[in-house]
C-alpha cells in the first residue's frame, strides 16, 4: 500500500479503519498500523522514557502528520480520495459502504468482503503555539485555515475541532480539521462504477450524532469538544469535573469559554453530513444499484447489532463463538477477529460511557469463555476516562480468561507503544482458523432489521 498523501492523518479513526479493512480484504493482518516499520521498532523503547518526554514525543509524532497553512491551501482532495480507493483490491463487489466512520461497520464490511469509503478524514494543520484551553483564540486562528481548505474543493465541509480534554497533547502544536466530502470525488465514483455491477447494494452509513457548533459559513463550523468522556454541557458551561481537570492540568481557569453556539450539526468525527446522500441517490439510480441507509444516533449502537450479526454468521457456519474481542477507538483488526472466530465489539473511546456500553452488552449475552481487550492511549487523563480497574472488572465477565491485548496496564493512558504492539499481541491470543464464507448482503439486511430496533439502528431503502 502506498504512503498516504499529505493532508490526511494516519493516526486517526478514518485512515486507520480504512487501512485495517483494506488489509482484511487483501486477506492479511493489520501488521503495521503506523505504516512505518521504523516507528514500530522505536515505539516500545519510547515507552521507557519519563512521562513528560513521552508526552512530548507523542505531540511531535502528531506534528509530523500535520501540514502547514500553505499546504492546506493546496490540499489535493482527489489525490487523497485516489489513495483511499487504491488501498482496496480491484475487483467486483456485491456491495459497498459509503459514509460515516464507525469501527463496528468496518467489522461488518470485512465479514462481507466489501469496501467502505469514508466521508470524513482528519487534516491536522501545524501552528506555532496553541493554547488548547483558549477556545476563542483557537476559533479565530482557525478561520483563515478553514477558508484555505474550503477553497480547495467546492463540495468540502470543514469542521474545526478543538477538544482540550481528549486531544490535549496534540492541540498544543496544531489545529484539527475534520473534512467532510459533500459529494463524491471522481476517484470514489470511478471505484464504485468499476466495482459494483448492476443489482449490487450500496449502503450509506448514516450516524446522526450531533454536536453544538459555531457556524462560520455554509460549509465551515467550529466544534468545541467531542463525544467521549465529558458531556456537551461540561464543554460549554463547565462543571466540577472540568474544574478538577483544569486544576490537575495546572491551568488557571475554572471552565472553558467557547464562542457562542449557533447550530447543531453532525459530529465532526462520527456524524454524516447529509449532503452526500443526494449524489449517491442519483448514482445508484443511474447504475441500478439498491441504495440502503443504515441510520443510528449513538456510534456504539452499531456495535451491539454487528456483534449479533457476527454471532449468527458463525453459528450458521457451525462455529460456536465463545471469544469476544473488544476494540478501542482505532485499535482493531477485523481480519484477526474473523480468523479467531471472535465476536467483535467496538468501543468509541476508553471512556466511562463506552465502558458502560460494554457492560450492558456483557450483561445481556451468554458468557464468553475468553475476552480480549485493546485499550487506546491518548496520553492524557481526560475527563470521564475509565480507569484500568474498571476495564479489569469488565474482563472479569469472561468465563475462562479475560485479558488485555498489547496493553501496559501501568502506563495506560500513556501507553503509546500499544499502537505498534496490539496486532501481533492479538494474533497470539488464539489460533487462526479458516473464516466462514462471506456474509451475504441479504443476511446483513435481515440482521439489521432483526436486531437494529432494539438498539436504535434502522435500515431504509432509498432507491
Amino acid at each position: 500500500m502506498s504512503k498516504p498523501p499529505k493532508g490526511i492523518a494516519r493516526f486517526d479513526s478514518a485512515a486507520t479503519m480504512l487501512l485495517t479493512l483494506a488489509n482484511a480484504l487483501h486477506d492479511r493482518p493489520f501488521a503495521s498500523p503506523s505504516q512505518s516499520p521504523m516507528l514500530d521498532r522505536l515505539l516500545p523503547s519510547f515507552d521507557r522514557l519519563p512521562i513528560r518526554l513521552r508526552e512530548w514525543g507523542y505531540a511531535v509524532s502528531g506534528l509530523a502528520e500535520g501540514i502547514s497553512h500553505k499546504q492546506a491551501s493546496e490540499l489535493d482532495i482527489e489525490g487523497i480520495a485516489e489513495w483511499m480507493v487504491s488501498t482496496y483490491p480491484q475487483r467486483d463487489y456485491p456491495a459497498a459502504f459509503v459514509g460515516a466512520t464507525n469501527g463496528a461497520l468496518v467489522h461488518l464490511a470485512a465479514a462481507m468482503g466489501t469496501p467502505w469509503l469514508p466521508q470524513t478524514f482528519l487534516c491536522p494543520v501545524r501552528m506555532q503555539q496553541n493554547d488548547p484551553d483558549d477556545a476563542q483564540s483557537g476559533f479565530e486562528e482557525g478561520k483563515a485555515v478553514a477558508a484555505a481548505l474550503l477553497a480547495t474543493w467546492p463540495k468540502l465541509a470543514v469542521h474545526h475541532m478543538q477538544d482540550p480534554s481528549q486531544d490535549r497533547l496534540l492541540l498544543e502544536k496544531m489545529h484539527d480539521f475534520r473534512l467532510k466530502l459533500r459529494d463524491m470525488p471522481l476517484a470514489f465514483n470511478e471505484f464504485l462504477l468499476g466495482g459494483l455491477p448492476a443489482g449490487a447494494t450500496l449502503f450509506i452509513n448514516h450516524c446522526t450524532r450531533q454536536w453544538p457548533v459555531t457556524r462560520t459559513s455554509d460549509r465551515s463550523f467550529f466544534q468545541f469538544g467531542a463525544p467521549g468522556g465529558a458531556t456537551e454541557n461540561e464543554y460549554l458551561r463547565g462543571g466540577p469535573r472540568v474544574a478538577e481537570y483544569l486544576a490537575r492540568a495546572g491551568v488557571d481557569r475554572a471552565r472553558w469559554e467557547p464562542p457562542a453556539i449557533t447550530d447543531h450539526v453532525p459530529d465532526a468525527e462520527w456524524g454524516l453530513d447529509g449532503y452526500l446522500i443526494s449524489p449517491l441517490k442519483k448514482l445508484a439510480e443511474a447504475q441500478r444499484w439498491t441504495l440502503m441507509e443504515i441510520r443510528y444516533d449513538d456510534p456504539e449502537a452499531l456495535s451491539f447489532v454487528v456483534a449479533e450479526i457476527y454471532r449468527d454468521w458463525y453459528l450458521a457456519a457451525g462455529i460456536l463463538p465463545a471469544r469476544l474481542t473488544v476494540d478501542s477507538f482505532l485499535l482493531m483488526d477485523p481480519w484477526c477477529s474473523m480468523q479467531q472466530h471472535a465476536i467483535p465489539f467496538w468501543l468509541m473511546f476508553p471512556s466511562v460511557p463506552s465502558a458502560d456500553a460494554l457492560q450492558r452488552f456483557l450483561e445481556r449475552q451468554p458468557p464468553f469463555n475468553h475476552i480480549d481487550m485493546m485499550l487506546y492511549s491518548h496520553g492524557t487523563d481526560s475527563i470521564g476516562l475509565a480507569d484500568i480497574d474498571r476495564w479489569k472488572q469488565l474482563l472479569a465477565f469472561a468465563r475462562e480468561e479475560g485479558a488485555f491485548v498489547g496493553v501496559d496496564e501501568t502506563r495506560f493512558p500513556h501507553d503509546f507503544s500499544t499502537f505498534s504492539r496490539f496486532d501481533s499481541a492479538l494474533r497470539e491470543r488464539a489460533p487462526l482458523l479458516p473464516v466462514p464464507p462471506p456474509l451475504s448482503v441479504d443476511n446483513v439486511i435481515a440482521g439489521i432489521q432483526r436486531y437494529g430496533a432494539r438498539h436504535g439502528v434502522t435500515l431504509q431503502a432509498l432507491t
Binding site: 482527489e78 485516489e82 489513495w83 470525488p185 476517484a187 447504475q287
Partner: protein, 306 residues
C-alpha cells in the same frame, strides 16, 4: 611521477567502465525497445474480459481493430485514440461502454497494432480522416457514434466535416490543440503537468510501448501534423450533435478552450468532469462512460429508424 601515472591509469579505467556501461545501456535499451514492439495489441486483461481484435487491409494500410463481445445492436460506438497512444489505452473505456453498446477501437495507421515501417509517410489529419471513412465502410457500417480523445478529436472533426453522413454523434474529450498554446514546447509542458496528476494510474508503460511501435520520427511528425491542423476550422462545419467533455484539472484542454469550441458548434453540449485529468478515457473510464451514456442513449434513440 608515479602518482601521475596511477592517476592516469585510474582515469583510463573509469573511462573504459563508463563506455562499457554506456554500451550495455544502449544494448539493453535497444533490446527492450524491440521487445516492446512485440507487445500484443490487446492487453491480456482486456482479452480475458472478452475484447477481441482483428486485422484488415484498408486501401494501402493494414489496420488493427478491437471489438467488444456483445452482439451488434444499434449504431456502433467507435473510439479513436490520441497522439501516439494506441487504442490499447481506450480498452478500459471500451469495456465499460461494451456493457451497453457494440464498441470498436481501431488503431490509426502508424500506431499500435496498425504500425507502419519507418519508410511509410507520416499521415496528416485529413488523410487519417479519409482512412477512417474507408475503414467504416469496410466494416459494413454507414454511420457510427464517434468518441475521440485529444488528437483523436482532431481526426474526428475532420471526418465529421468531410463525411457528415458517417457521423451520427460525436463525443470529443479533451480536444487538442489549444490555439493559445499551439507550440511543441507548450504542449509538452502541459502534457508533463498532466502526467504528474495521473501518477497514481499512469498510462506511462502503455505510452512507452506505443512510442516503440510508432517510432520516434512518426511520433514527432504526427505531433507536427497535430499543431498544423486547427480543429476550429473543421468544427464550424460540423452538423452532427456533439458532446464536448473535459476533466476539470486537464491542463492540456483548458475550460476556456472548450468554451471556444462549443461556441463554434451548432449542436453542442458540454460536460466537465470534476477532478478529471486529460487522459480521462484511461484514468477514469467508468466515470467517462457514466458521463456520456445519456448522450449516447439519446443518439441511439434518434437513430432507431436506421
Amino acid at each position: 611521477m608515479r602518482r601521475t601515472i596511477q592517476c592516469k591509469k585510474r582515469q583510463g579505467m573509469a573511462l573504459a567502465a563508463g563506455i562499457g556501461l554506456g554500451v550495455a545501456a544502449v544494448v539493453w535499451g535497444t533490446k527492450r525497445w524491440q521487445q516492446m514492439k512485440q507487445t500484443p495489441p490487446v492487453s491480456p486483461r482486456s482479452h480475458h474480459a472478452g475484447l477481441a481484435g482483428y486485422y484488415q487491409q484498408i486501401g494501402d494500410w493494414r489496420m488493427f481493430t478491437r471489438v467488444t463481445p456483445e452482439e451488434p445492436h444499434g449504431l456502433p460506438v467507435v473510439l479513436i485514440h490520441g497522439l501516439v497512444m494506441s487504442g490499447r489505452s481506450m480498452e478500459p473505456l471500451a469495456l465499460a461502454l461494451g456493457r451497453d453498446y457494440h464498441v470498436l477501437v481501431p488503431d490509426l495507421p502508424g500506431f499500435g497494432g496498425s504500425a507502419l515501417p519507418a519508410s511509410a509517410p507520416v499521415l496528416s489529419v485529413n488523410e487519417l480522416a479519409d482512412i477512417l471513412w474507408q475503414w467504416l465502410q469496410h466494416n459494413g457500417f454507414q454511420r457510427a457514434i464517434w468518441v475521440g480523445s485529444a488528437f483523436g478529436c482532431q481526426v474526428l472533426a475532420a471526418l465529421a466535416d468531410k463525411y457528415p453522413e458517417a457521423v451520427a454523434g460525436l463525443v470529443l474529450q479533451g480536444p487538442t490543440a489549444d490555439r493559445h498554446a499551439r507550440s511543441l514546447v507548450r504542449q509538452m509542458w502541459r502534457g508533463w503537468r498532466n502526467s504528474r496528476m495521473e501518477a497514481h494510474r499512469s498510462p506511462g508503460a502503455l505510452a512507452r510501448i506505443d512510442w516503440a511501435k510508432a517510432g520516434l520520427p512518426r511520433g514527432v511528425g504526427t505531433m507536427r501534423a497535430m499543431l498544423n491542423d486547427p480543429i476550429e476550422h473543421h468544427l464550424t462545419y460540423v452538423t452532427a450533435p456533439t458532446l464536448l467533455l473535459r476533466g476539470s484539472r486537464d491542463p492540456v484542454c483548458p475550460a476556456r478552450w472548450l468554451d471556444e469550441l462549443a461556441g463554434l458548434l451548432p449542436h453542442s453540449e458540454k460536460i466537465t468532469l470534476r477532478g478529471g485529468t486529460h487522459r480521462l478515457h484511461y484514468v477514469y473510464p467508468w466515470s467517462f462512460c457514466h458521463a456520456i451514456r445519456p448522450f449516447l442513449a439519446r443518439i441511439q434513440q434518434e437513430s432507431q429508424h436506421e
